[in-house]
């Protein structure tokens, strides 16, 4: 809750204010920092770049139950470091992008991930796999621009959520599951639906299958699902790269590479690709 401050007077058109704001901004246009805030379903990522797009700082926090409050906390943290509207521009992305009232612009995670990936991987021709908490996106980039993309439908199979549910069933944390999976092998979950897959996992547990093997099956199932989804876009011959929360787990990249039958590259910074892309867009904003 906040004090009842009446910021918008119903009697005043908003255009007058906006017009003035725009002129003011134009004056201060030169050399601003870019701030990208990616409010995902599980994690909120923030990246600050200088006017040239070099990363100055990045941070990560759980989104929690309220994306508005998370956005507010981020704003306060940035302000504590002296990063405010006076010296920076803000772009919000991710499913909680509309919860960032101080953002100069909202851009979808598709565009932001693409932009971030192009810069991170230093190539204008990319095929991006982004495994997010709720959505998995496949983005084809040609000449530095998005030419095609698909997102999973309502079903959470092949997303971070799927991993979380399965980790829960195995009573481990998602990160542990990914680590355990590396020492498992030769186990499969046939169903691609989270609900059915969960009962399959329970069956595997019942049969005494080792947790490592079940973890292997879970990660493999994600890779398979992503591969199936990729049938709806046309990946080109450029590199396939992984962004999002699973970048830190080499085994995930390995399973994806095996599913796609070609190398999949990633980097620890790729987890921030969305926020980085947003920051790059912010740094390039005019007016």
């Amino acid at each position: 809750m906040k004090d009842g401050i009446c910021r918008r007077r119903p009697w005043q058109g908003r255009t007058g204010d906006a017009g003035r704001l725009r002129r003011d901004l134009e004056k201060k246009m030169e050399e601003k920092l870019g701030v990208g805030i990616d409010i995902g379903s599980t994690c909120a990522k923030t990246v600050v770049t200088d006017a040239n797009g070099e990363i100055l700082r990045r941070s990560l926090r759980p989104t929690g139950w309220s994306s508005v409050e998370t956005a507010q906390t981020i704003q306060e943290e940035l302000a504590a470091d002296g990063i405010t509207a006076d010296n920076a521009r803000f772009v919000a992305t991710g499913y909680g992008r509309i919860s960032v009232p101080f953002a100069d612009k909202c851009v979808t995670e598709i565009s932001c991930h693409a932009r971030g990936a192009v810069r991170l991987f230093g190539s204008q021709e990319l095929n991006v796999i982004d495994i997010g908490g709720q959505d998995t996106k496949l983005i084809v980039i040609s000449g530095g621009a998005v030419t095609e993309f698909v997102m999973n439908d309502k079903c959470s199979a092949g997303t971070g959520r799927f991993l979380e549910v399965m980790a829960n069933t195995l009573a481990v944390r998602p990160e542990e599951l990914c680590r355990m999976a590396a020492s498992g092998s030769d186990t499969r979950i046939s169903s691609l639906c989270t609900v059915f897959a969960e009962s399959e996992v329970i069956n595997l547990i019942g049969r005494g299958t080792s947790r490592e093997n079940i973890a292997f099956a879970v990660v493999d199932s994600i890779a398979q699902k992503v591969k199936t989804q990729a049938g709806r876009v046309r990946f080109h011959s450029g590199p396939v790269c992984l962004t999002g929360g699973l970048c830190d787990f080499p085994f995930v990249t390995e399973r994806l590479a095996s599913a796609f039958g070609r190398p999949v590259v990633t980097s620890p910074a790729a987890r921030y690709a969305g926020a980085y892309g947003a920051a790059l867009i912010a740094a390039g904003l005019k007016g």
């Binding site: 918008r8 007077r9 119903p10 009697w11 058109g13 908003r14």
Partner: protein, 86 residues
Amino acid sequence: MVRYYILFENYEQGLALHDLLDEAGVRNRIAPAPAAARGKLCCGMSLLVEEAELAAAKACIAAHGAVYYDIVGMENQLQPRRDRYC
């Protein structure tokens, strides 16, 4: 989108005009008078008319010499992006 609120000094005036507008087929509905529009003289109710009906409402008022306090336009502050369908 701007909507127009017809304000009144009391409910009797408001309900009387509501009847007149209904009879004349001018779309209107009773709505709380916006807090920001409420002068000293206004009562809690207003008649809400869309922009397209404003001229017809004014004509109806003139034809019947109906009493009202003021007509004010106000931006609808609720976002159209809220995705409520039926």
